[in-house]
Symmetry: C2
Subunit: 259 residues, 2 copies
Amino acid sequence: MRRLKVTLEYDGTHFAGFQKQSGTDLRTVQGVLEESLVRLTGKETPITGAGRTDSGVHALGQVVHFETGSSIPVERFCRALNGKLPPDIKALDAVEVDASFHARRSASGKKYRYLVFNSRKPLALWRNYCYRFPFPLEMARVKECAAVLTGEHDFRAFSVAGSSVKSTVRHLYSVDAEQQGDWVRFSVIGNGFLYKMMRLIVGTLLETGCGKLSPGQVKQILEKGERGRGGFTAPPQGLYLVQVYYQDGFILDRDISIP
Amino acid sequence: MRRLKVTLEYDGTHFAGFQKQSGTDLRTVQGVLEESLVRLTGKETPITGAGRTDSGVHALGQVVHFETGSSIPVERFCRALNGKLPPDIKALDAVEVDASFHARRSASGKKYRYLVFNSRKPLALWRNYCYRFPFPLEMARVKECAAVLTGEHDFRAFSVAGSSVKSTVRHLYSVDAEQQGDWVRFSVIGNGFLYKMMRLIVGTLLETGCGKLSPGQVKQILEKGERGRGGFTAPPQGLYLVQVYYQDGFILDRDISIP
């Protein structure tokens, strides 16, 4: 048996999220990948992901690990696996790692992007790949709010109840927002993200940008750790898991840019 | 009755092309739009498009015209129509035009873009919005071929048999190719395009770029007008009808850029 680390790209549109939902026939990333691994290797192959993505969320660089007894050389593994995977999920990289590697626990950080179409105009073509936010944004306010969120904080207010994590302290290394025409792209790099944290951050940046919240209020919400006081949960289809960072990790050249 | 000119954006992925296919239940742009107009106005409203797009081809600025007795003010027409249209097709603009305006005959030109992922790497996320061409392209050759095609020529060799047009002479004002990382974007502006001409041009640019054809051969193929001698027909999902030009036309701010 050896342990493989595989980097995946997927279009989240037709997946009911990453995590397998036992007792349902929902199409999930984990479910589809595990089925493809059975078809490739002939053996049940449970996988572990770097993190869950919700239904509709896309990934340019999700990472998983699993154990396999397959004799397929690692340099041919991606191609062989891609032959079994459906068109909306593909393996970009596969490397053998030692038994201490863990897709989630070994990760030192993650990078997410979020794409917003900031316009009252209708949108047909990118509807599953961005979020249309019709209220004008004042980018200086967005950037002030981003500065408030950057750094090490208790992000309890930016998480949803019911998740079982021990600590809600996370360190955001950078929170950026770029505007180009009708498009705004948010980029956040952090050492970890609580459940729905990225979407709550984007909702808060948007509500600050359009004047519903002030950067000072966001600072208070963060300090008080009160859930439900920040911005709304931005919808999933604008969100992309771009990269999971590891020591000596594979550097992705995939990215999502402003259309 | 008055005549309206409406500019449309659509995601071609789930349309069996623009043109209504009588006697079938294929979902077409024309069919969906006409149904929505019936639901909006209560009257059968046949539409005329600036041109047909094939199944899978996208549009950022398709133009149609139709006659309507509807009393909806023109400035509210888009919004009202968008309320009836499904998510993958939206009206961007509606203006009243005089009875001499014709979406196809009044057009002075069109702009198409074609997006290529030029890599052997797999691709999940943009699979319906670009074409993956795995052979390395020499951009200098692509540009030489583009120069051969630019200008007024008989494009008979770049059309498919069976179409009933009188003349196969067209004027291409510009044929451009830009490369950025693994992506290549072709842009062609011309006074008109024969059926499948844009996709045959892209196939020819790609085959020239990867060395299967030479710019000199392309010149000969163009001059001799022999069908089937140029490049392959590039698949539909990379193609975008970006703009239809009219005198005093609506200038679109929609575009497709390199991801």
